[in-house]
Amino acid sequence: MPDFPPARIVLAKVGLDGHDRGIKVVARALRDAGLHVIYAGLWQTPEAVVRTVADEDADWLGLSLLSGAHMTLVPRVLQLLREAGLKDVGVLVGGIIPEVDVPKLMDMGVARVFGPGTAMADIVAFLRPRSESTHA
């Protein structure tokens, strides 16, 4: 067992999109991998998401969008995180994100975009070394 506390990740659906198959599978896989997972649920506004991140003292935030509204909602979340002094929180985006939008999101400060077909082990592998270095 690692001698550092498990990384804390908030997972949330932002906007009106109700497709939660993926985020629930990810939540369970991350929990099984030993992370502390807080699933904020559906229909979260950017403001509510950032409040949860602050309240839960999270290291990571995972946003799921299959609605096409990512170019409106993700920048808003990033801006609110900065305003709340939470710029060190790593932001992951999952769902249906067209290839052309991926570099734009990364430039804005998203740590990684995970599209359809991502293996759960890849998400765990991405989070684990970074979480360890954060807490070492």
């Binding site: 009106l16 369970r28 096409g68 293996a119």
Partner: protein
Amino acid sequence: MATVTDPAALERWEKENAAAPLREQPPTTVSSVPIEALYTPESLDGFDPDIDLGFPGQYPYTRGVHASMYRSRLWTMRQFAGFGTPRQTNERFKFLLSKGQTGLSTAFDLPTLMGLDSDDPRSLGEVGRLGVAVDTLDDMRELFDRIDLAEVSVSMTINAPAIIVMAFFLANAQDQGVDWKKLRGTIQNDILKEFHAQNEFVYPPEPSVRLVCDVIEFCAKQVPQWNGVSISGYHIREAGSTAAQELAFTLADGFHYVDICVARGMDVDSFAGRLSFFFNAHNDIFEELGKYRAARVLWAETLRNKYGAKKEASWKLRFHAQTAGCSLQDKQPQVNLMRVAYQALAAVLGGCQSLHTNSMDETLALPSEHAVTLALRTQQVLAYETGVTNTVDPLGGSYFVEAMTKQMQQEGRKYFERIEELGGMIEAIEKGFFRREIADAAFVYQRDVDARRKLIVGVNAFQESDEKPLDTLVVGEAVEKEQVDQLRLRKSQRDTAAVRKCLDDVKRVAATKQNLMPALLEAARARCTVGELVNAMADVFGRYDGAAKW
């Protein structure tokens, strides 16, 4: 049923089969159900073709709901479409009709689906994005502008605000001079599966079901060729369920609507013939076939035996199928064309009445004109070139197909009992039963894929390193502004006293047991918006938030 007559041959086969190695991926269905190496007459214990199969168009409809099926009339080719403003979607409708599509199917945007107006702050970034934005009766008029509603059948995918959108549709038809008795089509209007799977609900389960049944009742009396509900397993499957769960939960939802309508005093034969269904067409051809055939049998026997329906129309389960969106991949997206073609084959072999084939680019965006044309052409090739339409139920009598059909029925009945034990549909929803079952199945599936017990071309096998992206449809930023400006203009031109009176009427009727449709028709004509009407009813019904559990 005859048994195998040559025991020596059977014994030899058993020995050889047992000695042969199995491939790395186990022989299981998409739903992870193990499949036998061989199906023989002995697999069909107690099978009686006269009872279990019957003839097409006759009880229990295992072989199909019509006597001559596609020999007389092909399924309706109905591509789900909608994006941007009503004007843009109207153009896409006309484009699809010009390519040979035979029915229309409307996708609404997320704000409309959730009962929000385009100018609501929560709609920001979502207007016209996943479907068409409809706020008022005027939007409905533009959506079907110069499309003869007495000629072409129309499907509308909307649930929580379905009764409002139906009121807009009916008011518009009347304005266009189309007799309601000539309208053909379907409104999805199935709220129960939203609680199980798709999460587009607004009100708590009981008032939500009341609205569904108001539409069923109104249409049964006034719009006789209209399907007032499309009881949908599609979304349950997309959320990760197994085929058996899709089958069982969908039919259980259907039984619940029947229960509520009957409890209102409606004669089951006055509406059951207009209950329609909507199933997924996933990758596993034989599992899907078993599902469709079992669905017809279970529905027919329950409507006849439990509900005492007398009319054959009440026993017949008619269904639309859509190929599985969740099976599409963003890697090597052209490969999706092949997935869709096989899935469509399953739906047609399973006797669907209408079909949507997904476009290859739908994991990336809404379909481009090129992609949607190929998807429609896939149906046309199936219909006109492959010969599968020449005879009814071509796979009927196959040991494997009949065994799968029986197995699916058994799985379905087990779930019906389980739901009863939990206290019925609403109790089972409140206990989180359906959500848990579906999430568990989705997790098992993902684990199988990650462990390569299931291979997916381009994803965990046969990957390409240098993929070229497809050109996809982009919904412009200007759409939202255009729609919001239009809505504000229309709101400013209304008779506000009339609007207020209509909203008060809707609230008043919502608090009674009367059918809400007449009040909503008045409200539609007064240009009340979807959002205003949803809010008016929420004042009476409350809102529901039972979705955060996992």
